[in-house]
């Protein structure tokens, strides 16, 4: 049979997977020897994990910590901002506030801004950066603020977020679960979901990703799940 966790082949005479050591828990009838061996494998796996090449690479490169907070320009991502600020304060990291203006026509430099579609010019980005700076520094008034930087780019959000995370070698990405595409149809709290951007970023990012939901959404998510939304 195959291991349900790592898909490694398990020989018939064996009771557990020799690759991932299967489960943390100990079965009642498991012989002491097997448990010891599993424990050893798990320990070795962990050593491998922390010694993994990317970890090593990041360790020596990271003198400073960086948290990438991705905003969607709506107050709904404020919960994620709160989490990002807390994290940044906690580990004395630089907080990068990042927004990606979506390119609708993927061939041309046209992007979607609050004023509708426009060409991606320097003015558009300057304006965006200024308002982001204003909005978020106002939130941190009279509080110890972490080191902050505002960045904006255009493109497909998840691609630019992952690209930025790789480029800046950030320690963590913090973002909301999904955003509004069309301001006319706002958040539908009845129908919470994980947006395309959050999905792709969490799958492809080079670092851990924290997706921070608002309490309202979490509540409706739970309702949805209990109503049997998932197959």
């Amino acid at each position: 049979m195959n291991c349900p966790i790592c898909n490694n082949t398990i020989n018939e005479n064996e009771t557990f997977c020799r690759k991932c050591a299967w489960s943390i828990l100990r079965a009642d009838n498991e012989p002491e020897q097997d448990y010891e061996e599993r424990f050893k494998i798990a320990k070795k796996n962990w050593e491998r994990l922390i010694a993994c090449e990317c970890e090593a690479r990041y360790r020596h490169l990271h003198k400073e910590h960086k948290i990438l907070f991705c905003t969607d320009l709506y107050a709904s991502s404020d919960y994620a901002f709160k989490a990002a600020v807390d994290l940044a304060r906690e580990c004395d990291a630089e907080l990068i506030i990042y927004h990606v203006l979506e390119s609708r026509h993927r061939y041309s430099g046209q992007i979607i801004t609050a004023d509708g579609e426009t060409w991606a010019s320097k003015e558009v980005f300057d304006k965006l950066r200024t308002s982001l700076q204003k909005y978020y520094s106002a939130k941190l008034e009279n509080q110890p603020a972490p080191k902050m930087r505002v960045e904006a780019r255009s493109g497909i959000p998840w691609i630019e977020i992952v690209r930025m995370a790789r480029k800046e070698k950030v320690d963590m990405i913090v973002m909301g679960p999904y955003s509004i595409r069309d301001p006319k149809n706002g958040f539908d709290l009845e129908k919470p979901r994980l947006g395309e951007t959050a999905k792709q970023v969490s799958l492809r990012a080079p670092c851990p990703v924290a997706i921070v939901t608002s309490p309202d959404q979490r509540l409706s998510l739970e309702q949805q799940t209990s109503a049997g939304e998932e197959k």
Partner: protein, 437 residues
């Protein structure tokens, strides 16, 4: 750009008119018998309720014909009309030339009108915005070399999850193919690079991505800026010669082929009209892979959904690769349905000739003229549309939404990846992954 008042420089117009006033243009302009056969060949004409103003013969007589008749002495209103016709009513797809009994190359004449409009500073903003990018970064989307290399690394990492040992070689001298891409792949669809890398790894190809001249698209050509277009294409030739590659490989892009293989040599002033390095299109190469068994298709993975193939004008009609494209599709799909008309007689998707990069202001027109393509696709009842052209891909996606076609638009690479056999020795073995990282 087009909003400001323009100052007409008649001497410049005359210069362009004079330079092009050869035997061909003279013959074409004088012998067109206005038989109207070209009209029904043009999808703009068909999509706009057969309005005779969209007949190709009218378009070139009205623009270039009048310019020659008036010897370039025209006013702003007329130039604006030319601008409107040259970019808003023609995608330079060359279909009309196949329907003209005299074989008049109408697209070539409209291209001249474009360069005349350009000389007067009259071009669509979307195209105008790419030009400084070409000048500064050598590609239309202002992608830096750093970004390109980083994206290649990123994608190689991702591709290694699927296939072992995938690398994206950068600037490797002596490779067989120099793979030139559309900056859109770096900016918007990096998975395209990962897919290409996987295919090349499985086919054991020797390839490389160059760090200059890597943008094979040439919007300067469509913007009528022949000088810059020449520089763009020459940068690519020069890089290929520098890397001593056997051939330049063009990604799944239509007008890149037109630029690199056919118009490029003239734009870059190669007098014999032939590129200094052979140009190979991805469609041709993938066809050879499948034909020669370098890529094997898993029969059990072959696509069962009905599939149709969109012939990009600059790959099929204008580069003769219609059968190669079909062979690939037949190899990877069980239920292939051709559109009608097809092959070299296909209709342009409506996004060619610079239409897609012209962006929002032209979107409405683009959707209207794309009706013909939408109807063609609907008639096949296909669920997947394959197109080996980035331009068609975008346009088909837009049409899909606009006309509610309910299809999935894919590139050839995408389906080849889905159906190909990954040889045992290239399958990633999970055991080693932790150790290697």
């Amino acid at each position: 750009m087009t909003e400001n008042n323009i100052k007409i420089d008649i001497s410049k117009i005359r210069e362009i008119l004079d330079k092009n006033n050869g035997a061909r243009i003279r013959s074409w302009l004088s012998i067109c018998s206005r038989c109207g056969l070209c009209a029904e060949a043009c999808f703009f004409f068909l999509a706009n309720d057969k309005n005779p103003k969209y007949a190709p013969a009218y378009k070139f007589q009205r623009t270039l014909g009048t310019l020659y008749k008036k010897k370039g002495k025209v006013d702003e209103a007329f130039l604006r009309e030319c601008h409107d016709i040259a970019w808003g009513e023609c995608t330079l797809c060359k279909r009309c030339s196949l329907y003209c009994p005299f074989g008049i190359d109408i697209a070539a004449m409209i291209a001249i009108v474009r360069s005349i409009c350009f000389s007067q500073g009259l071009i669509p903003e979307g195209l105008a915005r790419t030009l400084p990018n070409y000048e500064q970064f050598g590609n239309q989307m202002a992608v830096t070399v750093e970004d390109l290399v980083e994206t290649c690394e990123w994608m190689a990492e991702e591709a290694r999850d699927e296939i072992k040992n995938v690398t994206i070689p950068i600037d490797t001298s002596g490779a067989k193919y120099m793979y030139t891409i559309n900056p859109r792949e770096v900016m918007f669809y990096p998975q395209d690079l990962a897919m290409a890398a996987q295919i090349f790894t499985v086919a054991e190809e020797s390839w490389t991505i160059p760090t200059t001249g890597w943008d094979c698209t040439n919007l300067a050509m469509y913007a009528g800026n022949k000088e810059l277009a020449g520089k763009v294409v020459d940068a690519m030739y020069k890089k290929a010669l520098e890397l001593e590659v056997e051939a330049i490989l063009i990604t799944e892009c239509g007008h890149a082929m037109r630029s690199a293989a056919y118009e490029g040599p003239y734009l870059a002033n190669y007098r014999n009209g032939k590129p200094p390095v052979p140009i190979v299109h991805s469609v041709q190469l993938f066809y050879e892979y499948i034909r020669d068994g370098r890529i094997k298709i898993d029969p059990s993975k072959k696509i069962d959904l009905p599939v149709t193939y969109q012939d990009p004008c600059n790959v099929s009609r204008n580069a003769g690769l219609w059968e190669q494209g079909r062979e690939i599709v037949r190899a990877i799909c069980n239920d292939f349905r051709d559109m009608s008309p097809n092959r070299d007689h296909n209709h342009c998707c409506g996004g060619g000739g610079g239409f897609i990069p012209m962006g929002g202001p032209y979107r409405k027109r683009r959707m209207r003229s794309g009706r013909i393509k939408a109807e063609q696709i609907r008639a096949t009842e296909a669920k997947i549309v394959i197109s080996p052209c980035h331009n068609c891909y975008d346009q088909l996606n837009d049409l899909n939404k606009e006309y509610d076609l309910g299809v999935r638009v894919v590139s050839l690479k995408e389906l080849i990846i889905e159906t190909m056999v990954v040889p045992e020795h290239l399958k990633p073995n999970p055991e080693s992954q932790n150790e290697e990282g």
